[in-house]
């Protein structure tokens, strides 16, 4: 009896989750199907295209100069991910493993920045970048430094890594000290290999943030040379009307890298989130 009730509950849970998954994946399915339609089919709002229009992808790629934007996005995201991992780890380590006066106050200040909306930091960031552009021997605006440097560390990444590092046993440090290791060697030689899951999680979040950015890249660039793929997507919406089939083909192209990376690291991603003590 109890088993039957338990089985019934499982069915209910799985049924609910299945329904939720179906509802959640509907926008993605719609995007994918629309990307294979003719414009007439998008106008008639059919759900499945009569004939798959692969040409939409070719057209979207060519018309919006996606090749260049794609390359830019990959480079910007790679620099941001690399920088964020390095600087966030360097900030999280002392906050988690070193005793110094004001440690908690520093951590509280870092956490407080989480409450500042991005739109508020945009102007100070822009002023800083402009000043650097004028003072530095190399260009910041219209180039990769403006697109990456302001985002090379963020409070959430520091918090996530700090939470993980705090959970590691203190004996590791004692053992490392006996072997003559300093903090840098301990961090990069011993802790780093243990941090795979949270680092991949931070990397994933940073990658998504960088990949989807639009407002900031538009502010600090004036030509396509360093503009990301999100700017390319804008090309398909004009005052006259949207070309949904091309827009969706572009959206699929832009989404594929994010999905691929997520599928490759989803186990570590989930692990990283759960180990940080955050709830989904």
């Amino acid at each position: 009896m109890a088993t039957r009730r338990g089985r019934g509950r499982s069915w209910l849970i799985y049924g609910g989750l299945g329904l939720w998954a179906t509802v959640s994946s509907f926008p993605f399915a719609w995007m994918l199907l629309s990307s294979f339609m003719t414009r007439g089919e998008t106008l008639r709002r059919v759900f499945v295209p009569e004939k798959v229009q692969w040409a939409n992808y070719v057209q979207a790629w060519k018309e919006a100069d996606f090749g260049l934007y794609f390359e830019n996005s990959v480079l910007i995201a790679a620099m941001q991910v690399g920088g964020t991992l390095l600087f966030s780890l360097l900030a999280a380590y002392p906050l988690a493993r070193m005793e110094f006066r004001g440690r908690n106050a520093v951590f509280a200040c870092i956490l407080a920045t989480l409450m500042i909306p991005e739109s508020v930091t945009m102007v100070p960031n822009f002023l800083t970048v402009t000043w650097l552009h004028r003072s530095s021997p190399f260009a910041w605006l219209n180039s990769w430094p403006a697109l990456t440097v302001p985002f090379l560390a963020n409070a959430f990444s520091i918090f996530l890594l700090r939470q993980f590092l705090r959970g590691l046993p203190g004996e590791l440090w004692d053992a490392a000290r006996i072997d003559g290791a300093g903090h840098f060697r301990f961090l990069f030689g011993i802790l780093l290999p243990l941090c795979k899951a949270p680092l991949l999680t931070v990397g994933m979040f940073t990658f998504i943030g960088s990949w989807n950015a639009l407002a900031w890249p538009l502010l600090v660039t004036n030509s396509p040379n360093w503009r990301p793929i999100s700017v390319g997507l804008q090309q398909f919406v004009s005052e006259a009307g949207a070309e949904v089939h091309l827009q969706m083909a572009g959206a699929v192209i832009a989404t594929v890298p994010v999905l691929l990376i997520y599928f490759l690291i989803q186990k570590e991603f989930t692990e990283g989130i759960s180990m940080s003590g955050l709830k989904g």
């Binding site: 414009r39 106008l43 008639r44 000043w131 538009l218 004009s238 006259a240």
Partner: protein
């Protein structure tokens, strides 16, 4: 051991932090780019200047604009070089300008709606174009000035300051399905709002014969948008601002009349609300909606959507049904402002602007963009275009009935308030309370400017 390791770590990290500290105090605009002394325009030499132009156009329009810029660069006698830069949509450009004003990174020319231009002017980001326009050496002669559609110029003239020069204009027009109207027993678009309501009701009862989905048939889809509402208010003789254009009037009999009519038709299921971007365009082009209220800049899209990808029918454009005072159409469009940079740069930017509004360039831009020209004499160069595009000609003929939305700074926020109020009302909110709140909030927004 531990202390030694900590010292080493700090030794590595602290210089990094110290290096970042000065950044916290940096910022501020480039004051050298804002000359304070009085300059005599006629004594300036614009030779060799490089002009940066921020615009919002993409694809075909951008391609043609860049070709035109190339032609200007090749042919202008002063060796001025214009560099066109796509800077995002209107809101992106506004953000870029607001941030650029503080960082001292302004272009020479920027596309701006009137309320945005007013905000830039208040922040000393753009200049008054009057001195350029009347300059005996560099300006427009009286004939050229008179050739502009004066209401267009007036849109950019705020308290005597010419904040921009219009490169083109659009208007809100009523697109209608001629074949369906005939099936319903009408031989002309609606001249009055009562006729409009009657047609919508009939359309609900009798779907268009070519519609692929006979279960969905509507007279009209209303978009939750301040410009759509403004067009309807204008058509019944109302306005969004008082006679002096200084204060908002959003709790008026005209507004109630318009909203009341739409609510009534929605209650009868003869009118619906647009639920996706360009949803009304889509449904109109497949014959599910009898009327669509949209910008004339969408004419090419409607044409190709109906004739190439839609169900194919005869269609036309006209003004909204009118009140006793006759037709009024909502004419709008962003203008181009000259930013407050070095005077020589301003003059060079003016040269391009002047060149772009000349009839030959205007005609070329019309053909590429389908916008309306801003100079009357352009029509002489568009005779063939009018024949090839009868709907464009029909809309062009409505220019004489133009009226514009407020150019008050902060109108963008009020547009959002209007849209929120529309949602509240169509969602069953109390009209009196919502409109009262709207007018108060709009007044507060204006006072904050």
């Amino acid at each position: 051991m531990k202390k030694k390791a900590e010292r080493a770590f700090r030794a590595a990290i602290l210089p990094l932090l110290a290096g970042l500290l000065p950044l916290a105090s940096c910022g501020g605009g480039d004051e050298s780019a804002r000359p304070q002394e009085k300059v005599v325009l006629e004594e300036l030499d614009p030779s060799g200047q490089e002009v940066v132009f921020w615009y919002q156009h993409t694809r075909e329009r951008e391609d043609e604009l860049l070709r035109m810029i190339e032609d200007f660069n090749r042919t202008n006698p002063h060796g001025i070089t214009v560099r066109g830069e796509y800077a995002g949509k209107y809101n992106d450009i506004y953000n870029k300008m607001i941030v650029g004003l503080q960082g001292g990174t302004l272009p020479h020319l920027v596309v701006a709606y009137q309320n945005q231009a007013r905000a830039y002017y208040q922040e000393e980001g753009i200049v008054d174009l009057n001195p350029f326009m009347v300059s005996p050496k560099w300006g427009l002669d009286s004939q050229a000035r008179a050739d502009f559609f004066q209401p267009f110029l007036k849109q950019d003239n705020i308290d005597g300051v010419q904040t921009g020069l219009p490169p083109n204009r659009s208007m809100e027009v009523l697109y209608y399905n001629i074949d369906w109207l005939e099936e319903l027993g009408f031989d002309a678009p609606p001249a009055t709002w009562d006729k409009f309501a009657e047609m919508c009701r009939k359309a609900k009862e009798q779907p268009f014969s070519k519609s692929p989905d006979q279960s969905r048939s509507l007279g009209f889809l209303l978009e939750i948008d301040a410009s759509r509402l403004a067009s309807m208010i204008f058509s019944v003789g109302g306005d969004l601002v008082d006679a002096e254009g200084k204060g908002y009037t959003l709790d008026t009999p005209h507004l109630r009349q318009v909203l009341g009519r739409m609510m009534g038709l929605m209650g009868e299921k003869a009118v619906g609300i647009v639920s996706e971007d360009y949803g009304d365009q889509k449904e109109f082009s497949v014959g599910q909606v009898l009327f669509a209220l949209r910008s004339s800049s969408g004419l090419p899209y409607f044409k190709s959507a109906i004739e190439e990808d839609g169900v194919g029918f005869r269609w036309g454009v006209t003004h909204l049904p009118s009140g006793p005072a006759g037709p009024v159409v909502n004419v709008y469009g962003a203008s181009i402002s000259v930013c407050k940079i070095a005077p020589e740069g301003q003059l060079a930017a003016w040269f391009f602007l002047k060149w772009f509004t000349e009839p030959a360039q205007q005609a070329r831009w019309v053909r590429a963009s389908n916008y309306f020209p801003v100079r009357k004499s352009t029509a002489q160069e568009l005779v063939e275009y009018f024949v090839e595009n009868p709907q464009y000609k029909a809309a062009y003929d409505l220019l004489g009935y133009g009226k514009s939305e407020p150019s008050v700074a902060g109108y963008q926020q009020v547009r959002r308030l209007i849209q929120d109020a529309m949602v509240d009302i169509f969602d069953g909110g109390d009209v009196d309370q919502v409109l009262e709140r709207l007018e108060t909030a709009a007044g507060r927004s204006l006072a904050e400017q």
